[in-house]
Symmetry: C2
Subunit: 231 residues, 2 copies
């Protein structure tokens, strides 16, 4: 190892970030080449830019098809910095996965339950797939790096997300009546992932060009069927 080798998630802990970067959060940015012309010399911003670019590339193109040079170019950063800050390509992927895991955590409630609200948010995620970064992070959960570490994180993230969703829908480890909610919540997640996949990666019609008006109703039905308790 070189020096200290800090493979951190650099998530909610950073505060003084993004200098000279106008597109910080939820701007569309359909083109892959933003983050350019940064006024360097800011390690935190550099790491952030790398993770941002990497998440997009990994999610859309997959792990193997993405090259570190592409990521570095997208982030407007020298290639060697990937190895400096994340040790390896796989370390960067792991950081992306951890970040997605954290974001997913903050977006799903820990314990209580408001099934209709949850359903609405799930649908929103799927529908907004082509734009923004939020739905792409879902596709990241389907991408395998082939490495034990990163894929373990991926599996645990999906299982944790499942438990969160099932809990929000009323699952309880003690109540045998809610035992199947775990599996049902996971089927809902599988549906989400499948739809996002078809919409973005494969661009299959008609679902790829379907809007909120077309998708809200059937998706809501499916999620309601899976997550609402039959009283």
């Amino acid at each position: 190892m070189l020096q200290r080798a800090r493979v951190c998630v650099e998530g909610q802990s950073m505060s003084t970030q993004t200098p000279a970067s106008t597109t910080t959060d939820s701007t569309p940015a359909a083109d892959a080449g933003d983050d350019l012309q940064r006024s360097g010399r800011d390690a935190t911003a550099t790491r952030h830019a790398l993770v941002r670019a990497a998440r997009r590339r990994f999610a859309t193109d997959g792990y193997r098809a993405t090259t570190v040079r592409q990521i570095a170019a997208d982030a407007g950063v020298n290639v060697a910095l990937i190895n400096r800050y994340f040790v390896s390509k796989e370390g960067l992927f792991e950081a992306c996965m951890l970040r997605t895991s954290d974001e997913l955590d903050t977006q799903t409630p820990p314990r209580p339950a408001d099934v209709e609200g949850i359903i609405a948010r799930l649908v929103e995620h799927v529908v907004n797939a082509p734009d923004g970064d939020d739905p792409l992070q879902l596709l990241l959960l389907l991408r395998s790096s082939g490495d034990e570490n990163a894929d373990g994180i991926r599996r645990r993230t999906l299982e944790h997300f499942t438990k969160r969703l099932a809990t929000a829908a009323g699952w309880s480890p003690t109540d045998p009546d809610t035992a199947d909610l775990m599996l049902r919540a996971q089927l809902a997640i599988a549906t989400m992932l499948g739809v996002v996949m078809l919409r973005t990666s494969a661009a299959v019609q008609p679902v790829a060009s379907a809007g909120s008006d077309d998708l809200d109703a059937p998706l809501g039905e499916v999620f309601r069927l899976l997550l609402s308790r039959p009283v």
Copy 2:
């Protein structure tokens, strides 16, 4: 191009195939290394073995992560024969995709409708995912090679499958009451793909180890909700 460059699907048109190959069809064969110790000198059998091995590799590991040497080793065949018979790795992928497209075609009825029967078959496909070759071919539909040709075939296959399923469920291009069935059929396909993905690629619990008893009911509900006309 070298000589004639026949990139054929070699599907239903071959009859005198598989000499000295005991495991021809639906044997489990969870290990990746069958097809070995072939008694060479049979181009048809060689092509068949290559496609068989390639489909498994492409479906499980993805296009980029699969190497031609792996495929050749799985098929018990020299690497150069891939280029001889399929011109390139991408040509082999295209042949795999075409074969999947054809098999999917023969398995879905062309016009009539027996929704319950269709649903039962869809569920069967998903549940049997870890074993056999049938469900793996579904994952192939999610894999992108990055090439225009193969990915076009993939998109068209998915769209054709959508139309088949919607038609079987009662969709008619003239009847406006059935207009949304197209999208609903595609959501059903997305659900299938998502579940198979979670079961095989990510091995996420509890869906990965769920059996027919656990999956039949909720999956049937979802497919029925999406495909059955509300009278």
